[in-house]
């Protein structure tokens, strides 16, 4: 039986390698996503255009503005008077940050020893927003400590940072786990269901079922190439995000790989399940797209935060495997947490995996009708 299985697995790999276009898509997709995202994010912060709104116009504010203006990182575009003007400037998109001095800034500082500066950044590019706000805070803090030289009662200027449009700074850190979930779903669920349904459509499935080859081996052989492609993809994504996005796995790579395998297997089981009812490759494809890709995009949490969704959607999101995988990847990869932080999610994923496989194996009938 061993050699029979090998024969079949070999055939599956031949299918995959012969179909160059699909192969290119399977490996190209994650690469393209990560690389494009890497380019879309600017690490270049020199000469970032900013605006200053000075409602106080005193000596202190003038000094701070001069300091900011002299920095090579910033290019003060204009001075604004009203909040409306400010909003318009951000919407136009070429302003990355606004520094706002409230009225009576200098007065407050002299009399109460405290004053705040509002720093607002356009966080649609989270990397850039973080960098520019860090720079400006540094400049303000430097100025603050130079004022305090020898002072008995220290003055305190506090920069109040506000991220506009993307307060949680969703960017590469959220994007990469999302890409991982999507790519595995695509390769495992869609390709598996299409591969199985293809045999039905071609009529070869009948021949296989008439042969003594065991149906379980058909399943194993169909899963094998997609499993391997996905593991390769996992490492491609991890390496690329480390190189292009400067995003390394903070936690255990082994744990991440283990959880990814679990998610990959779950996606394979979903693909298997979808293939059972579908009769044509097209319907298998549609079922995967509507049944899996769409929920993955919407309910995983990397495009839209689940916490902000209506309750029914939140409940529904719990049924989507990628939702749990997404949490695991974020914790292990980004926060560097260990198994104790993700065991619950891992358990849920494992349960889903076992359940889905049990259902689909039962339904994968020996007799066609």
């Amino acid at each position: 039986m061993h050699s029979q299985l090998l024969t079949f697995i070999k055939k599956e790999f031949l299918h995959v390698f012969r179909d160059r276009k699909t192969l290119l898509m399977l490996f190209g997709l994650p690469i393209a996503q990560i690389v494009l995202f890497g380019f879309a994010l600017s690490n270049e912060v020199k000469d970032s255009k900013i605006v200053v709104a000075d409602y106080s116009k005193d000596a202190t504010t003038q000094q701070i503005i001069a300091k900011i203006g002299s920095s090579k990182y910033f290019n003060i575009q204009q001075s604004l008077q009203s909040a409306q003007q400010l909003e318009a400037a951000f919407k136009k998109g070429d302003i990355k940050m606004a520094v706002i001095f409230p009225p009576n800034f200098g007065n407050n500082l002299q009399h109460t020893n405290k004053a705040t500066i509002q720093v607002i950044a356009d966080a649609s590019d989270p990397n850039l927003a973080t960098t520019v706000t860090n720079y400006v805070t540094n400049i303000i803090n430097d100025y603050n400590s130079s004022l305090n030289n020898g002072n008995v009662q220290p003055l305190q200027i506090t920069p109040e940072v506000q991220m506009l449009y993307n307060p949680e700074l969703r960017g590469a850190p959220n994007f990469v786990p999302g890409v991982m979930a999507l790519v595995f779903m695509l390769v495992c669920t869609m390709m598996t269901s299409v591969a199985i349904v293809k045999e039905k459509e071609l009529g070869t499935m009948e021949i296989l079922l008439v042969s003594p080859f065991r149906p379980i081996y058909i399943i194993i052989s169909k899963l094998a190439p997609n499993l391997i492609i996905s593991v390769v993809n996992l490492f491609i994504i991890l390496i690329l995000s480390s190189v292009f996005l400067d995003l390394q796995v903070k936690g255990s790579v082994l744990l991440l790989t283990f959880c990814s395998m679990l998610f990959i297997l779950t996606s394979l089981a979903v693909g298997l399940l979808l293939s059972i009812n579908a009769q044509t490759q097209e319907s298998a494809m549609t079922a995967s797209l509507m049944g899996m890709m769409l929920p993955t995009m919407l309910l995983t949490g990397f495009l839209f935060p689940i916490e902000n969704m209506p309750i029914p959607m939140q409940v529904l999101a719990n049924l989507v495997p990628s939702r749990w995988y997404f949490i695991i990847v974020k914790r292990v990869m980004l926060k560097g947490l260990g198994f104790e932080a993700v065991w619950k999610e891992t358990l849920i994923l494992a349960a889903m995996c076992v359940l889905l496989f049990t259902i689909s194996l039962r339904k994968f009938k020996i007799r066609l009708q």
């Binding site: 029979q4 055939k11 031949l14 299918h15 071609l202 021949i207 008439v210 042969s211 080859f213 066609l368």
Partner: protein
């Protein structure tokens, strides 16, 4: 004569619809058994029951000495099947297809190699061994599919309209292959819509609306129906049919 297929009142219902109604017939070892009938008569359904792809609703049947209800796994070891749909992989080469089907029947690597060579020679496809099946003309594909269906030397081979859409010359060559297999003792169970092919069979069964309306050798059938050829015999029976897929 040894009976390799025996059925008794073999019936298949799909809901209220009776696709095969109480089929009773025997097929002898080494025989070429023609299974005729108009579209929708129930030929494929009967064949699928015998191959273990479909569970009969009632009746009895044995194939290669094994029961179709309880011993389908044993049956599978002893039969070959060529379905009505084309059954080779287009994106694999000729020899890859042969090796694959030989492989899943558990043949040894060495056997597979010699068998592949033997088949290629027999079919005159030595130069096409590395050609993708998609690039072959339909007639060649069908001949290859037949050879592949008996690559594991089964006792019985089931052929469901193996020559559909193939030109007369190639059909003739196809039947040479069938005779060659039958000479080696393989029992051939074949459905067809071509009446000249019916003449090639040792015995012919003609199904009408799910029942076997006639069963005998072509010579006897022509006598019985007072006809010059099988075409005429078939026409006399088939025009009584109520059901048609077309």
């Amino acid at each position: 004569m040894e009976k390799v297929i025996q059925t008794e009142k073999l019936t298949k219902r799909f809901g209220d619809f009776v696709a095969c109604n109480e089929l009773s017939f025997d097929v002898d070892k080494g025989e070429i058994f023609g299974f005729l009938g108009a579209n929708g008569a129930g030929k494929t359904t009967a064949m699928r029951m015998l191959c273990g792809l479909l569970k009969p609703t009632s009746g009895k049947a044995s194939v290669a000495g094994f029961d179709v209800f309880t011993q389908t796994e044993k049956i599978k070891m002893n039969i070959g099947y060529m379905s009505q749909k084309f059954s080779l992989y287009d994106d694999l080469t000729v020899s890859e297809n042969i090796r694959f089907y030989a492989g899943i029947y558990g043949m040894k690597t060495k056997n597979i190699r010699t068998k592949t060579q033997e088949l290629l020679n027999e079919l005159g496809l030595q130069n096409e061994a590395k050609t993708l099946v998609s690039a072959l003309p339909l007639g060649w594909k069908q001949k290859l599919a037949f050879s592949v269906s008996i690559v594991h030397a089964p006792d019985i081979v089931f052929l469901d309209e193996p020559t559909g859409g193939v030109d007369p010359v190639t059909r003739r060559q196809f039947w040479d292959l069938i005779y060659h297999a039958a000479d080696k003792g393989v029992t051939v169970f074949v459905t067809t819509h071509y009446m000249d092919e019916a003449e090639y069979c040792n015995r012919v069964s003609i199904m009408v609306d799910g029942v076997i309306a006639a069963l005998d050798s072509p010579v006897n059938l022509k006598k019985q129906f007072n006809a010059d050829n099988m075409e005429d015999v078939f026409y006399q029976l088939a025009r009584k049919a109520k059901r048609s897929d077309n």
